[in-house]
Structures are given as structure tokens and as C-alpha cells.
């Protein structure tokens, strides 16, 4: 059976390889973003060829309707996409860690107020709100990242809170309190290191979600028009009729690129999660069942 051979092949390869492949994908994307000028023959905004030409040795992925080199735009577009994903996730997870730790550590009324606040934030549909705010502010990519981070922070905040809640009850935290250490010190030096693995996993998955969201904003035509991003490339190709013309090299590459990056982040995330929570691993199945 092809199905079984495939499955056993996957098992042999092990999740570890997926994790490393994910790191390799994201690592090379970062290198591409940094060294974009050395990898491309044309500036991304340069009108350098015949409009709508097919892929050739001059233009690896052809040109768009304005005669811009699609390959250059794809390479430069890596920057905005990565910035939105990673910066948005940084702000989101930092916000979540801050409010989650405070809620979990102090407990009682503080916890009650913060938890209710997070509940409300999670009920309000974030993406439509993000659209409203984007139209109002017409933000650049940094403001978009900030908005996404603040709106999405509650998701990680809730998970981190419940983790801190159980850590705050452990003996070494109670001991540190008895020694009279300040709350800020305990949170920074004793609680934070304990939730770091969880924060890392949350960070990777948030980066994936925010990256897709950022490209989605561009696709809906409300991204930052001063930068080149893959969402706007898809939008432009889509609305200019790349479909009807059958020009897969125009609409395909940016979508494929964001898909590959997203899969890379997912592989890193699941690899990390499995190390963190052995109960999810298929290897320990006999131990738990």
C-alpha cells in the first residue's frame, strides 16, 4: 500500500527532521530578505522589460503588467512579510506574557479583572476590527504589526496565565516570597524562565498566524502601499487577470512563497511543542495509555 509506505517513511524520518527543515526554510528566508539586493538583477520598482513577458533567462519569473521583474519583487517582498509576522508575534506574545504573568501571579481580583478583559477581547472578532482600523489609520507595516499584536495578545495571554497560575503555587516560588523578594524580581527571574518554552512555541505559531494575516491584508488591498509584499502581489496579479491570461508565473510564486514559509513555521512550532509536551509525542504512547 502506497499509504502505508508513505506513513512508515514519515515515521523513519522522524519529527526532528521536520523541525530542522522548518529551521532551514525560515533561516534561508531571513538570508534572502537581508541579501535581497545581491540576489536580484533589477530593482523591484524598476520598469525593466516588456510588460507581461514570459519567464526567460533575463526575467526568471517574467514581468508583470507594468514591466517590473516578478522575481525581484518576490525576493524583496520577503522583507515585509517576515517583518509583519515576527514583529507582530513579538508584540502579541510580549503583551500576552505581561498580562498573563501578572494575572496568574497575583491571582484573586487582579486575575478576575484581567481574565474577563481577555475573554472580551477574544470574543470581539479581531480581523474585521483590524480591517476597520486599517481603513481609519492607513498604517505602515510597523503600525499594522503593532495593531495585530495588541489585538491578538489575549490568545497567548490566556495560555500563559494558566501556566503561571500553577507555577505560582510551587514551593520555590512560595519560598522566594517568604524570603521577601520583590514581586517583579520573582516574576522576572523565577517565573519567566519556567514559561520560556511555552512562550517560544506561542511565538512561532503567532508568527505564522500574523504572517498569513499580513499577507491577507495586502491581498485585500489595504496593506502598506509603500512596501512590496506578497499579498499585494497576489492581489495585483489577481485583479489584473493573471488567471484569465493563464499566467501562473505571475500569481503563483508569491502564494507559493507564503505557503512554504507558513509550513516552515508550522514545522518548527510542532517540533518545539512535542519537546515541550511529551504527552503529545507518539513515542510515549505506551507510557500514557
Amino acid at each position: 500500500m502506497a499509504w502505508q509506505i508513505l506513513a512508515s517513511g514519515w515515521d523513519l524520518m522522524d519529527r526532528e527532521i521536520f523541525f530542522r527543515a522548518g529551521l532551514a526554510i525560515i533561516g534561508s528566508a531571513m538570508l534572502i530578505a537581508i541579501f535581497a539586493p545581491f540576489l536580484t538583477a533589477y530593482a523591484p520598482d524598476e520598469f525593466c522589460g516588456m510588460p507581461l513577458s514570459e519567464p526567460s533567462s533575463d526575467h526568471l519569473l517574467g514581468t508583470n503588467d507594468l514591466g517590473q521583474d516578478i522575481f525581484s519583487r518576490l525576493i524583496y517582498g520577503t522583507r515585509a512579510t517576515l517583518i509583519i509576522g515576527f514583529l507582530g508575534a513579538l508584540i502579541g506574545v510580549a503583551t500576552g506574557t505581561l498580562i498573563g504573568t501578572v494575572a496568574g501571579y497575583y491571582g484573586g481580583r487582579t486575575d478576575e479583572v484581567i481574565s474577563r478583559f481577555m475573554d472580551v477581547m477574544m470574543t470581539i472578532p479581531a480581523f474585521p476590527l483590524l480591517l476597520v482600523l486599517s481603513v481609519l489609520l492607513s498604517p505602515g507595516i510597523y503600525v499594522i504589526s503593532l495593531l495585530m499584536g495588541l489585538l491578538g495578545g489575549s490568545h497567548s495571554g490566556r495560555v500563559i496565565r494558566s501556566q503561571v497560575l500553577s507555577i505560582a503555587e510551587t514551593n520555590h516560588i512560595l519560598g522566594s516570597r517568604a524570603l521577601g523578594l520583590s514581586d517583579a524580581y520573582i516574576m522576572a527571574r523565577h517565573i519567566l524562565p519556567n514559561i520560556m518554552p511555552l512562550i517560544t512555541v506561542k511565538y512561532v505559531f503567532s508568527a505564522q498566524a500574523f504572517m498569513l494575516m499580513g499577507v491577507g491584508l495586502g491581498f485585500l488591498g489595504i496593506g502598506d502601499v509603500s512596501v512590496i509584499d506578497w499579498g499585494q502581489m497576489i492581489n495585483h496579479a489577481y485583479s489584473s487577470g493573471a488567471f484569465a491570461l493563464g499566467m501562473w508565473w505571475w500569481i503563483g510564486p508569491p502564494g507559493l512563497a507564503v505557503t512554504v514559509l507558513s509550513i516552515g513555521l508550522a514545522m518548527i512550532g510542532f517540533g518545539l511543542e512535542e519537546r515541550l509536551n511529551p504527552r503529545l509525542s507518539h513515542r510515549n504512547v505506551e507510557a500514557t495509555a
Binding site: D119, G221, A289
Partner: protein, 328 residues
Amino acid sequence: MKSLRNNYFFKRITYCLLVFVISMSITFAVLHLMPGNYIQSLLPYLADINPEFSELFKAKFGLDRPIIEQYLMYLSNILQGNWGYSFQYGAPVLDVITEKLVWTLIIILPATILSVLAGIAIGAYSGWKNGSNTDICLLNTMVFVGAVPSYWWAIMAILVFSYSLGLFPLGGFVSLDALFSGINPIDVLHHALLPILVLTLSSIPGTYYFMRNSMLMTLGEGYILTARAKGVQERDILRHHALKNAMLPMITIVSLQCAHMITGSIFIETIFSWPGMGLLTFDALSARDLPLLEGIFLMDTLVVIAANFVADILYGVADPRVRVGSHG
């Protein structure tokens, strides 16, 4: 017992109201932060030529009153169904939205039901067969399916099924025949099928992960071990002990999925030119029609609140422990 239960419902309703009031406050703030004033953006030339008219307009619409009074007026207007006027359509926002809401529900409802059923079934199977080749195969497939953005699935689906194979229309909701013969439900279904399938596909992984995790957690419980020790048939353990308990948390997850669905449908409807709220959102974005967007946001909030509320009630019915306990 009875008063406790009433108290629980009362709390939930208060919570729902609170969420809606906060959403309304956000839209109110956004309207007031909008650059320029309302009359300026509505009738730009008139306001410049005739300042008195501008004053009259302000008085007429209460824009000269204190902000608190305006805020209260805004809240009561919204609650009475007066959601403002769309710049682009020149019609009441609520009318424009409710017309489109039906079309969105036509694809969102089947997609939700299908993806939840499939996600629970595959997730439960995968968790039960934990560690087997099938489980790993399913998990990897789901990681892949979930990592591909929904708009990319939609574009690929059109490319393959509509463009190359010609099995489905390229977009829209009825064929041109509808002009002569009226709207034919089967024709609409034919147009709706691909969007529904794509939305379902991109929503399955979310439900799948949660169900698989929930199954794994349940299988680690003491009562499963007890049942095994007693010599209960594996099939009965699955049916009576594992499945029922693992499915409980899914009720809450499903309501969370609802917000995800709305977001997904914005992309899917835009790509398939399906005339629902998602495409309306896209149009409103292109025209920078802020009042309409705010109305859409409020409607989305209402849909999510309703889903949450139903989930809460179902949870109370399904799990008696929640009903009287102090629910968070």
C-alpha cells in the same frame, strides 16, 4: 438550584451585552477619530460653500451636543437598528448587511457543520490510534492543510476545478440563465459547492488538533486505565468512556472557530465573487466605506456572541458540572 441556574444565565447575558457595548464603543470612537468631520466627507463642496448649512447639519444630527450625549444617542440608535448610512450605497447600513448575511450563511453554515464533523471524526480516530502510522500520516497532512492559507486553497481550487477541469463555474452565485428563468436553487448550489468545500478544508485542521489533543488527554485519565484493567472491550472504552469526555471541550472550540470562519469567508467570498458579507467587506475596503465596515464589524461581533451563547447553553446541557458551578 433553580436560582443558581438563573444566576448563571443572567451572568452570561450580562457578559454578552458587555462585549457588544465595548464593540459599539470602539466603532463610536473610530467614527469620531475619522479625519475631517462627517459633513465634510459626505458633501465636501457644500460644506465649504455654505458654512451655515454645515452648522445646521450639525444641529440636526446632534453633532454639537456634548460627547457623552452623542455616545448615548449612538448606543440607543444601534440598539434600535439605526446603524448609519453607507457612503458607497447611500442606503442604511443594516439593510445592506442583512441582505448579504443570508448569502454568507449559505456557505458558512454547511462549511461549519462539515468541518466540525470531519475534524472531530478524524481527530478522534487519530488520537485513538495515537502513534500508529495512520495517526502520523493524518497529523502531517493536517499540519500541511492548516499551514496553507485559505486564499491560496481557493485560488488553487479555481485553477484546478474551474479553469482546467471546467467542473465548476469560475465564480459568482448564479449562471446568466437566471436573468431569464429566475434563480434556480440547484444552480446556486453548483456555484456554492466549491467555496463551501474550500472553507471546510481550511477549517478542518483547527478542529482536528483540538480533538486529537483532547482525545490524548482523555486517554491518559485514570478511568480509562480502570476500564482497561476491568477488561472492558476496547471498542466500548472508545464509545462510552473516551469519546464522550473528549468531545466536551469541543463545544467551546466550535464557537471559537466561528470567528475564524468569518475571517476565512472574507477571502473565500472575494476570490469566488460570492455576494455575501465577505465580498461586501472587500467592496467596503476598496471604497474606504467606514460606516459600512463598522456595521460589518458589529454584525460579525453579534454572530460570534450568538455562537458563544449557544455553546455555553449546550455545554450546560451536556455537562451537569458546569451548570451550577461558578463558570469563568
